[in-house]
Symmetry: C2
Subunit: 223 residues, 2 copies
């Protein structure tokens, strides 16, 4: 479902260039539970950003469902990011002025397919599943780090996208809470065929992954 | 060096009150390597914020070096936070317009005790020690999550404070990088007698801790 060829990403910085990705080739089958591991600074977030159309590549191609994303208009990219690809950001990126429930309802409201009552029910159900049933009215600044992380997780999953990009989704979670999140993702994978691509430093996540890819200095070193 | 009695922190929220800390008693000896563990949302960050004078308690006392911090003026608190207590925040809190080197030099500049050359040398040495020797001129937005975390770590350690509060300092780090950070802290503890109080979900950190405190729902459950 995701096909990456010769993917290269350079960040120009003053007089130097940071080569964040150096020609990455990767095929990810639909329904995968793939984990990308590698040292801090090795390119995991950059790779996920390329797949999630958050940023443009310097060279190489990313195909999602057979479609080369570099050929898409901004409108089509926004559409892809709303309907097809869910993103759990390493820095969460919650909307500070909305509370927990509103943050999770937001993408469903944008999609405009369900009634407000259906949207509210869907959001509440997922928030209960990640252990935030008592925190609907907290705003992000009124939550703990791991609670914000779980709001970001719920928001990415609530639209039931085909592909979920999860950037270190358990970094701020204790092992018990983390396990419940991973179980939730595992059952979405099983029942809905959702493709999960994790980046992680957490050995527990690797227990759930069916394929593991190692990245080092912007290159894949083992696949 | 830190003495906590009946520490209580309530957050009023619409019509409810969140009881984040419910009467915590804790004594932390000078030179400790203490780890606070507990589920997401259990009160770890709130506890560190109380010790670090980032926020005021609802009830109970915090004494640092025998001094009740609730009696201190804002001026004295700023002084304490600059000279005595280093804080590695769960959300890093770096200054976005300064680059890595400037972020780490900043507290030393505020202290005004060393020459600019000495400050620069000290900051560079510590940044090398956390593996960021090639990233002096990156601004926080131009760094990976784990790199930002290490800038936050270097900034807290560069003033060689008596007490370091580390809120999930390895959350965004791979195990090799995390281990080098913990080794650095261990040698500061050994050579300078620095007191370290970690909050963590990372089992590797527990290997370095000499005492472990468990918190659950705002209460200490094992000490
Ligand atoms: N400003 C606030 N208003 C209301 N509730 C708050 C506020 N800040 C924190 N809380 C609540 O206080 C409780 C403790 O939060 P705290 O950040 O100390 O948890 P934590 O143990 O650090 O969690 P984590 O491991 O997820 O970082 C949480 O349930 C949180 O929702
Ligand atoms: N805007 C930017 N300008 C310059 N360099 C950048 C920029 N963004 C990222 N980098 C660099 O690109 C490299 C890869 O970053 P990336 O965020 O992908 O790493 P990562 O594997 O996700 O690391 P972590 O595990 O710490 O989150 C890093 O060395 C980083 O400093
Ligand atoms: Mg990253
Ligand atoms: Mg916390």
């Amino acid at each position: 479902i995701v096909e990456i060829n010769g993917l290269t990403k350079d960040y120009p910085l003053d007089k130097t260039i940071v080569h964040a990705l150096r020609g990455v080739d990767l095929k990810i089958a639909q329904g995968s539970l793939m984990s990308i591991i590698g040292p801090s600074g090795s390119g995991k977030t950059t790779l996920l950003n390329m797949i999630g159309c958050v940023d443009k590549a310097t060279a190489g191609t990313v195909k999602i469902g057979g479609v080369d994303i570099s050929g898409l208009s901004d409108r089509q990219i926004t559409d892809l990011r709303l309907h097809k690809v869910g993103f759990i950001f390493q820095t969460f990126n919650l909307i500070p002025v909305l509370n927990t429930l509103e943050n999770v309802e937001f993408p469903l409201l944008l999609m405009g397919k369900l009634s407000n009552a259906q949207i509210r029910a869907k959001a509440k159900k997922l928030l209960d599943a990640v252990g935030l049933g008592d925190y609907f009215n907290h705003r992000p600044g009124e939550l703990s780090g791991g609670q914000r992380q779980r709001v970001a997780i719920a928001r990415a999953l609530v639209t039931e996208p085909s592909i979920v990009l999860a950037d270190e989704p358990t970094a701020n979670l204790d092992s018990v809470t983390g396990a419940s999140i991973l179980n939730l993702m595992q059952s979405m994978n099983k029942e809905l065929g959702t493709t999960f691509i994790f980046s992680t430093h957490d050995p527990d996540v690797l227990q759930y992954a069916r394929s593991i890819v190692k990245i080092h200095d912007g290159r894949i070193v083992e696949a």
